[in-house]
Symmetry: C2
Subunit: 337 residues, 2 copies
Amino acid sequence: MTPQINRQVRLKSRPSGVPQPEHFEIVAAPVPVLSERQVLVRNEYLSVEPAMRGWVSAVANYSNPVGIGEVMRSFSAGTVIASSHPGFAEGDQVMGMLGWQDYAVSDGSNIVRKVRESDLPLSLSLGVLGLNGITAYFGLLDLGKPRPGDTVVVSTAAAAVGSAVGQIAKLMGCRTVGITGGAEKVKLCIDEFRYDAAIDYKAGNIAGRLAADSPRGVDVYYDNTAAAISDAVMIQLALGARAVICGTASISSWDPPPSGPRVELHLLVKRARMSGFIIFDYQHRYEEAIARLAAWVRDGSLRYREDIVDGIEDCPGAIAELYRGENLGKRVIRLRH
Amino acid sequence: MTPQINRQVRLKSRPSGVPQPEHFEIVAAPVPVLSERQVLVRNEYLSVEPAMRGWVSAVANYSNPVGIGEVMRSFSAGTVIASSHPGFAEGDQVMGMLGWQDYAVSDGSNIVRKVRESDLPLSLSLGVLGLNGITAYFGLLDLGKPRPGDTVVVSTAAAAVGSAVGQIAKLMGCRTVGITGGAEKVKLCIDEFRYDAAIDYKAGNIAGRLAADSPRGVDVYYDNTAAAISDAVMIQLALGARAVICGTASISSWDPPPSGPRVELHLLVKRARMSGFIIFDYQHRYEEAIARLAAWVRDGSLRYREDIVDGIEDCPGAIAELYRGENLGKRVIRLRH
């Protein structure tokens, strides 16, 4: 049966900071008819990412902002239900930039990969076996360059990327310290993600507790916050430390750019470096990361948490919810068809 | 004739920012008698470095601060006039951490090297063939990793380190832009150090002029300032840019640490990195750098400016003068014996 209605979450107006429900609208559109070399994907899971704030922002960024009236850009995972494209067959499971909508038509260019881990839940292709896991993997290993015995500090330690960073660092023989918000997430860090220590930033005195916990300093700092948590970590870098800049979740708006303590003296005295990266630059190496991540998931050495909610109606408020830190685990929206 | 009096410039009190004349005193001490395995060096040139601010600072740093009452730590160049050390003979020219004084006794451990470029002035061993040149060489080549065609921006572009950075970058096939203070130094950058462009930060609008001059962005930024000049450069990094943190001359005090615009978003969006370094980590490779620098000096492709003043009386005010940017060329103090 050919589907008739395609619900889409479209960007209604441009937010200046974190997008709120009122910046989106849900519209019922017709399901498009396939042209040549196209596939029709029925989305089953829609992803929610901190990076989406950047994707709708007019502030200079690494990609063009989503246009007003356009379907919200997102990773989605689903099943090919019709194909005139030689590379895809009906029944293929795929993950791609398919947007916040029920159905997506694609010429293949925005499909990131076919999901072949059929023994594992499809939703993982949006989380630990998707961009979150891949981001953790390359950011930590390529830029952080952890060595056995290193102290690796992770901000947003219980979240989708951070929890994978902490566990991969542990697999590399490092001592891991997670920074997260609230007692429940601290417990999750220790019990589930097996950090050696976890610090609740909401309890204050991050710097003091980090100094007590890691007196020899921080060798690798994997950051997703770019604010007070980072300021507390940067003053405790070890000689030769590597700070990996993955996200800036604690900055409510980059326009105008916020100020913070200058980092130059720490970098100089500690012969340290700060490096930023965008995971899309690693596209040619995704499968290498996913193969390793999937093996760790299968043998239980890489754990994950999902926070799956049902219904496209949840999309408009989902990014703001993420920034409020309310969810435990990777936020995924499951579609009912 | 054995010298009788050793004039020493001692640290009298601890400055909180840039050391001023009143933080030092000149004392006449006896010339020490040699024990076994020691050398007596008659200093001929004393160096003045921006880094000296850090050496007398109580703020956490890469070396223990000079103690109150101790001879001011400095590089000096001179001649061995007596030796009971098998590694040194009378007449050897040496450069080392020999302090702001007429005569230094050493067991060899604080002698950085024997100066063997006898065809070149001994004073160069404190400048372009000393730590300044070496700092420029390794900071630019090892951390900045310039590629032919790159745009390399240098702050303190007319100074001892910066002028060498600009010229080495040019030798590597880069386009060089110097940032310096005042029309006289701008002229020096263009005429003497052959920068492709030079910007006078005192004329304001650094960011606008840099954008006009380098619309494709900055590939390498070699910094010695850590303040407004850097802020203007960091917003114009090219993809994959490398910022090298060599010094923080524009910060009058690091206690308390000053604030500035956060750099995380620039590093992330531009997949860029900021790295700090301390040249002392490269000690095992000094001769490699000096051999190459000396060859460039001899064939005229690496030019230098010296600002030589006579008399140890000039020492107490020399660091503050450096920070006021009053000198043109490497400041060296020549001793009359």
